[in-house]
Symmetry: C2
Subunit: 212 residues, 2 copies
């Protein structure tokens, strides 16, 4: 655990050949889509393979035609979650807005997403807390997602520094990592409080003290 | 869930009367001490009642003489964890140090605690992420612990503001809550990274941008 580097990777094209590739893709897609939601809502260890197949409306036995294990499924689910989080970052590249405005709009859009009570929080944070010492494969996927997110924010922070919108004292990567950590903590506290106060407080504090 | 206020409370004196109070206290103590460690290391849903009794070295059947359910046990465990976290805050009241120095020493002491790889992270964060939507009772205990922690930090931040060590623009409670959220996020990221870099970065950023 921790000693051996684990790569976040899955062979998305692997098939076993005994059912048609298209039907197989559909079942796999149903499993991932419904199962991701179940894992996000309840957590990994509280969700059984049967919960996942029931949520997807497919026979329990079909699960292992598509995934070698529940851990494999969890790794695929967190990669899919990271891909959707990546898609939500498009505004960071909007050339019609100044870099600092893009950063603010981005976090405003994140703050507007969750509905309390019951919002599941950030799946990266949930899996990171629950599984980092249980699954090296899932930990690697969470780490990769955090690294890509940090790099994406750092790029725009660097642009804001070069545009004179932010002072250039701190390295963009350090600012980005701190802001993401503060965001994860705020999402966690909002989940415990079951209200959005910590998210609004995050916006105020980050854009008056960190990205300011 | 979330609609009904849930109080974080357990009747610590409850006994069933059919075994001696002292023997019962010892078994309860063993269960809490070893079980807390197991829950902290593995998480709530990955730990069974049998794991807890095995860790404590007591018969499985004895568990329900002391706790009505695994959830009850989880609530007692997180309260005990919060009490030990409270004890680690003694330095915040050290009258021989300036308020800002106390704040810095306190967080330096927190940063020095975990050993990677394998450090379990903050149990408040772990349980908050895993259980807020699963157990109103445990969520209430985590919320109470966060609120007490925030109040304790806010008191010293207020002292630092009145002593002129910190500007008095932001309310101490808002600063304290943000710092704790940022801490939780840093601990989470350190757990994913399996190294202390995020914790050191937290110290640098907080004491140059937030408590500065």
């Amino acid at each position: 655990m921790g000693g051996t580097p684990v790569i976040c990777a899955l062979d998305e094209t692997k098939t076993t050949g005994h059912i048609s590739a298209m039907a197989k893709l559909n079942v796999r897609e149903q499993l991932l889509s419904a199962g991701l939601e179940a894992l996000h809502a309840r957590g990994f260890n509280a969700t059984s393979v049967q919960d996942i197949t029931a949520a997807a409306g497919v026979p329990k036995g079909s699960f292992y035609n598509h995934f070698a294990s529940k851990e494999d499924f969890g790794a695929a689910a967190i990669q899919r979650y990271a891909a959707s989080a990546h898609a939500r970052r498009r505004i960071l590249g909007d050339a019609g807005l100044s870099p600092l405005t893009r950063l603010r709009r981005y976090f405003e859009s994140l703050v507007a997403l969750p509905r309390y009570p019951g919002a599941p929080g950030c799946m990266l944070g949930n899996f990171g807390a629950e599984l980092s010492n249980q699954s090296p494969a899932i930990r690697a996927c969470v780490g990769t997602a955090f690294a890509e997110w940090t790099a994406a924010l750092a790029e725009v922070i660097g642009q804001a520094q070069r545009a004179g919108e932010l002072p250039s004292g701190d390295p963009p990567e350090a600012l980005a990592a701190f802001v993401i950590d503060a965001w994860e903590g705020a999402v966690l506290r909002a989940k415990v409080a079951q209200n959005r106060t910590p998210l609004d407080a995050f916006l105020t504090m980050v854009f008056s003290r960190i990205l300011a």
